[in-house]
Structures are given as structure tokens and as C-alpha cells.
């Protein structure tokens, strides 16, 4: 699997927020086997607290995918992306342009506009989007080479609200890396996303807010792996009626 020409082996991407402690975050990152972690930019205090966090991130050896979380306008997102590129030294940006404070639904119009500006400046954009095919096409046209459809609202843990739409995205964009971003709550949700043919899963709260974050990180890694293997193995078709799996031929008669 390649994101913008970079080969990635782990199909689980992990967020770094909301963990009980930095040590537990580090354990979870390790247990997940992820190669990509997401981070944000926030206001620095004069004591340099951000620098300490940055040091601990570098210790993980993971690639950094900075986000534009919390940005509600194109200008905010573009400025944040430019700051992130300098700070983290990467052209990768998880582009979020939030349209609604309650649902954290992407503003797909602003998203496409920001993606076009940033792609033009050499950014490699990972757009957090809906599962809308037309929006997906416009994001590709704007220069994106990866799409990140939501599974459910950010932080909700509801699992995949619309598996059919994700299946349609897979069929419509067979060559584009698709990462389900947001909404995964349990390992079964992650496995389901992978069974639908998604290339990867990005999650945060499901691990950070689990009773045992490192244990859940491990579970998610195995679920992603199992779902991927299941997809590759071409699952059977569903049937409406029972069909005996044990041969009927040769059955004894006792009556």
C-alpha cells in the first residue's frame, strides 16, 4: 500500500489525543504496530510544553500526519497546514474543514477548495471527507491521491453508519487508497471497514478511551489484519435460507 508514493505496511493509523498519560500513549502506539500517527498544532505556552511532546513523538519512529482539526474555514485550514509543514517537516496534511460544530461533519465545499490550494503548494493532502462519491471525485480532481471517508461522526464510536456508501466508494475508486477516518468504536467496526475493501483505518478515541488502551490498540491491529485478509479471501455470498453444510448424502435412516 502506498500513500503518495510512500510504502506503508500497517493498515492502522493512530491518533495521539486523549490518552490517560504520555506513557500509555507510547504503549498504545507500540502495541498497535502503526507506522503513522496523527498530531495537531495548538497554542504554545512560554514553558515550551509542545517541544516535550514533539520529542516523545519522534521517539516512536512513526511518520507524522499533522491535522487541521478544529478549522472551520478554508483560510484557517490552509494557514494551519502551512504552519504544520514547517513544524513537522512533512508535506503530509490531514485536511479537516469542519462545517458543523455538533456533528463535526466536513464542510466538503471548503474542503475541496482548501485541498486545491494546498495541493498546488506541494502538500500531499489526506482529506477527511464524507462518503459522497461526487465530493470524492472533486477531491481527486483537486490533487488528492488519498481519500478519508468518515465511518461515523468523530469521537462517536458508532461504527460504520453507512457501509453501502463505503462499498460504493471502493467500487468507484478502485485504485485510490481509502482510509476510514472517524467513528470506529470497536475492533469489529475496524474489521468491517477492512472487509469492505478499505485500505486502512484511522482511529483515536476507540483506543485512547478504552479501559486498557494498549490492549485495545493490539485488538484493533488484529481486527484490521483479519478484515483485510477476509477481503482478500473473497467472502461467500449471503443466502436467505439455510443450506446444510454437512453432506446429506449417506445419511442413515433410523425410522
Amino acid at each position: 500500500m502506498h500513500f503518495y508514493g510512500t510504502e506503508i505496511k500497517s493498515r492502522l493509523l493512530l491518533g495521539t489525543a486523549q490518552y490517560p498519560s504520555p506513557a500509555i500513549l507510547a504503549e498504545a502506539v507500540q502495541a498497535s504496530g502503526t507506522e503513522i500517527i496523527t498530531v495537531s498544532l495548538r497554542r504554545e505556552t512560554a514553558d515550551g510544553s509542545g517541544a516535550g511532546f514533539w520529542g516523545s513523538l519522534q521517539d516512536t519512529g512513526c511518520r507524522i500526519l499533522p491535522n487541521t482539526a478544529g478549522c472551520h474555514t478554508v483560510q484557517e485550514a490552509v494557514t494551519t497546514a502551512r504552519m504544520a509543514r514547517e513544524l513537522f517537516g512533512t508535506p503530509w496534511i490531514k485536511l479537516e474543514v469542519i462545517g458543523h460544530s455538533d456533528t463535526l461533519q466536513p464542510d466538503v465545499f471548503g474542503l475541496v477548495e482548501a485541498a486545491r490550494i494546498l495541493s498546488g503548494e506541494g502538500f500531499q493532502v489526506f482529506p477527511y471527507t464524507t462518503d459522497d462519491l461526487v465530493v470524492g471525485e472533486k477531491l481527486l480532481d483537486a490533487g488528492c491521491e488519498v481519500l478519508m471517508p468518515w465511518g461515523a461522526p468523530i469521537g462517536s464510536g458508532q461504527g460504520l453508519r453507512n457501509p453501502d456508501a463505503l462499498r460504493a466508494m471502493r467500487a468507484h475508486f478502485p485504485e485510490v487508497p481509502l482510509i476510514v477516518d472517524a467513528g470506529i468504536g470497536r475492533p469489529s467496526d475496524a474489521a468491517q471497514a477492512m472487509e469492505l475493501g478499505m485500505d486502512a483505518v484511522l482511529l483515536n478515541t476507540a483506543v485512547a478511551k478504552a479501559g486498557d488502551p494498549a490492549g485495545m490498540a493490539r485488538a484493533m491491529a488484529q481486527a484490521v489484519e483479519a478484515g483485510r485478509l477476509g477481503y482478500k479471501a473473497d467472502p461467500m455470498e449471503r443466502r436467505d435460507m439455510a443450506v446444510p453444510s454437512t453432506p446429506v448424502l449417506g445419511m442413515a435412516e433410523f425410522a
Binding site: 489525543a17 496523527t38 498544532l41 495548538r42 504554545e44 510544553s49 504552519m83 514547517e86 513544524l87
Partner: protein, 65 residues
């Protein structure tokens, strides 16, 4: 002059962005800056003059999803 740094008013003697960051105690930190909503790269900071009431954002790496 008075400028707004991360939404809080600060009195600074510096007249350029680079000097202001040092004065405010961000000299050794890994930060990115934006002035009045526009990104200012590290290499531009010394040449960017400050004016009364400027809004400066100083951002650092933080946890994110």
C-alpha cells in the same frame, strides 16, 4: 507596543517578529507562527515588522486525532 499573542495582550519592545518571540520566551521552542491570520515562516520572521494591535499566533506540536 501592545500586541495580541495567542489571544492574550502583551507589551513588547521588539519591532520585528523574531525579536518579539525571543522577548516572549519562545526562543528555544519549536514553534510555527502566523501574524494576523497569515503564516510567517521561520526564515521570514526577522524581516516581518510588528505594529500596534497585531495578532500573533504561536503554535506547537500537540496531541491530535
Amino acid at each position: 507596543m501592545k500586541i495580541i499573542v495567542n489571544a492574550k495582550p502583551h507589551e513588547v519592545a521588539a519591532t520585528d517578529l523574531q525579536s518579539a518571540l525571543q522577548e516572549l520566551g519562545f526562543a528555544g521552542s519549536s514553534v510555527a507562527t502566523a501574524l494576523n491570520g497569515s503564516f510567517v515562516s521561520r526564515s521570514q520572521r526577522a524581516e516581518v515588522p510588528l505594529a500596534e494591535g497585531d495578532r500573533l499566533e504561536v503554535l506547537a506540536p500537540m496531541q491530535g486525532g
